[in-house]
């Protein structure tokens, strides 16, 4: 129990002050069986070399997108990351997740965030982006909270085909604020917006939808913003940032808020995080946006400079009344996204998106013709992910592909009983035709 650098004398003094004889007396009301955990019998101490070998061997057992060709998606994707991204974000000038406590002395960090915000606005066609949030799921929840603050209404119409994990996070945030979450209906893998106008009542703050949705299908959002706005509610769309290079943007669709999981933009999958919460909105909502925004201004000498705006008002002055108490951002991940987008450029990102589209449609078409398999949502437009029905349990197929060097798709049965034997397959620009064909051959064995 020597995690704290107290001398035994200090320890005795603390115990005496507390009026107990020993540490075990102090924790006497913790049941015996849990206390035993404090004295686990550990193997003898290893040298650094031995530890490196042991832990290295354990780590090598992990299958990941570096060791296998990955068809896994469902919110986290194996996109290509140019080596320059990792090199640049690892420079000591940049290597922190935080905006410094005296942000204005770190002009480089602020400029990078300002450029990130500008790129995100270009990508989404919306007016204002914040300096980022934790991840796509919390960004979605913050969008709902912002809509509640703007409209003073308590109800949310939520697509059932938003990523189930993001829906859980949303549910947690809304429940704690006594806000109501009502599911929209779905039809053939898409959100059913028929009768949307009748469903939006005077208590509806916003309609929340994800496109491409959890099943990879592009939602038909044409005209939805008009319907929502006619009832004085807001429209928030969760997007795949890569898809915006070829699909209609949230701005073009008339959205008030757009959020995204930014992981596809140059960020490693790393078993689930840290990721990047992208948050953008129309200019009129700037004072309700959560988190921080970096602004560009001039100093007393007329020289360009960058400053944090709104953060002082919200987090230092209004405190408990603040729009949000997200006090940090994913600075390093936002920087990775900035560098990625700068390296790709407009043409490069479009190329990535087109390759995703072509690769995934190539594999989907092949599987559609495979005996025993089918595409349950055939005919629905998709970007880089699609659902297949498998002749054997998804788990069995996943096991077989794993030993051959592949990570197969997400087992949708984890999320809904009626999705049993459905696999969600993601095909990014990284998959070569050889890999796709080899993966297909394994599927064909079942």
């Amino acid at each position: 129990m020597h995690f704290i650098p107290n001398t035994s004398e200090t320890e005795r003094e603390i115990l005496a002050t507390l009026g107990v004889d020993s540490f075990n007396d102090l924790i006497a009301n913790i049941p015996e069986r849990y206390r035993k955990l404090c004295s686990i019998d550990l193997p003898p101490v290893l040298s650094e070399i031995e530890i490196a070998r042991t832990v290295g061997a354990l780590a090598a057992k992990n299958a990941n997108s570096d060791t296998q060709a990955s068809f896994l998606g469902g919110g986290s994707y194996d996109h290509f990351i140019p080596a320059a991204v990792d090199f640049l974000i690892s420079r000591s000038e940049f290597y922190t997740a935080y905006t410094p406590y005296q942000p204005e002395v770190s002009q480089g960090t602020l400029q990078a965030i300002y450029e990130y915000q500008s790129q995100i606005c270009h990508l989404t066609d919306l007016d204002v982006a914040n300096a980022s949030l934790y991840d796509g799921a919390t960004a979605l929840a913050e969008a709902a909270i912002m809509a509640n603050a703007i409209t003073n209404r308590n109800k949310f119409l939520v697509s059932p085909l938003i990523n189930p994990l993001a829906r859980q996070v949303l549910g947690t945030y809304l429940k704690a604020r006594n806000l109501e979450m009502v599911d929209l209906p779905e039809k053939n893998g898409r959100t059913d917006f028929a009768d949307l106008s009748e469903k939006i009542d005077e208590q509806t703050a916003a309609v929340l939808v994800q496109s491409p949705n959890f099943l990879g299908i592009i939602e038909d959002l044409n005209g939805i913003a008009e319907t929502v706005h006619a009832k004085n509610a807001l429209l928030a769309i969760s997007v795949d940032p890569i898809s915006l290079a070829i699909l209609k943007t949230p701005g073009e669709l008339g959205a008030d808020v757009a959020v995204a999981e930014g992981q596809p933009l140059g960020i490693h999958q790393t078993f689930g995080g840290p990721y990047l919460g992208i948050f953008t909105a129309r200019r009129q909502f700037i004072r309700n946006i959560p988190g921080r925004i970096v602004g560009q201004t001039v100093d007393v000498d007329g020289k360009r400079g960058y400053v944090l705006v709104l953060q002082t008002r919200e987090q230092h002055i209004r405190r408990e009344k603040a729009t949000s108490n997200i006090c940090t951002n994913e600075g390093l991940m936002a920087l990775a996204a900035t560098i990625y987008l700068a390296l790709m450029g407009k043409t490069g990102l479009r190329k990535v998106a087109e390759l995703c589209l072509n690769n995934s449609h190539y594999l989907a078409q092949k599987i559609a013709g495979l005996p025993g398999y089918s595409l349950p949502f055939a005919g629905q437009p998709f970007f880089k992910e699609f659902v297949i029905k498998t002749p054997r349990p998804v788990r069995e197929i996943a096991q077989a592909t794993l030993t051959e060097g592949f990570l197969s798709g997400v087992d949708l049965g984890h999320y809904r009983p009626e999705w049993e034997n459905l696999m969600l397959i993601a095909v990014t620009e990284k998959r070569s035709q050889q890999e796709i064909d080899a993966f297909f051959k394994i599927l064909a064995k079942f």
């Binding site: 004072r287 008002r313 002055i317 209004r318 009344k321």
Partner: protein, 125 residues
């Protein structure tokens, strides 16, 4: 410090002037002098039904942000749209062009709960 005799006041430094069934509401000269240069005002929405003491907006100055509390219960029937582009009116003419909102009174008897000019003057002296 100017404390017009024809107005009623709150201890949170709002003023109200009753014109028939409607009260014109703003913040006092003392309030604006304490806040400093006002850069943005979040106005209530016309149609909002509010109770006395509710936060009906915020005033953002260079160094601080303050809530505006409603001195009276009722319905917001007008807001001073000119403040959207010229928030400095609150500094220049807090009792005139810098008015904030009009409230249609739900209960005229509430006026008796507000401070008289002499009491308000004592409060800020």
């Amino acid at each position: 410090m100017n404390v017009p005799a024809d107005l009623k006041y709150t201890k949170d430094h709002e003023w109200a002037r009753v014109e028939g069934a409607v009260a014109v509401v703003g913040i006092t000269e003392y309030a604006q002098s304490q806040l400093g240069d006002v850069v943005y005002i979040e106005l209530p929405k016309v149609g909002d039904v509010i109770s006395r003491g509710d936060v009906i907006g915020t005033i953002e100055a260079v160094k601080t942000v303050a809530d505006i509390y409603s001195p009276l219960s009722g319905e917001i029937v007008a807001v001073n749209a000119a403040l959207k582009d010229a928030s400095e009116l609150v500094n220049k003419d807090p009792f005139g062009e810098g008015w904030i909102t009009n409230i249609k009174l739900a209960d005229p008897a509430e006026l008796n709960t507000l401070l008289e000019p002499s009491d308000y003057e004592k409060l800020i002296s």
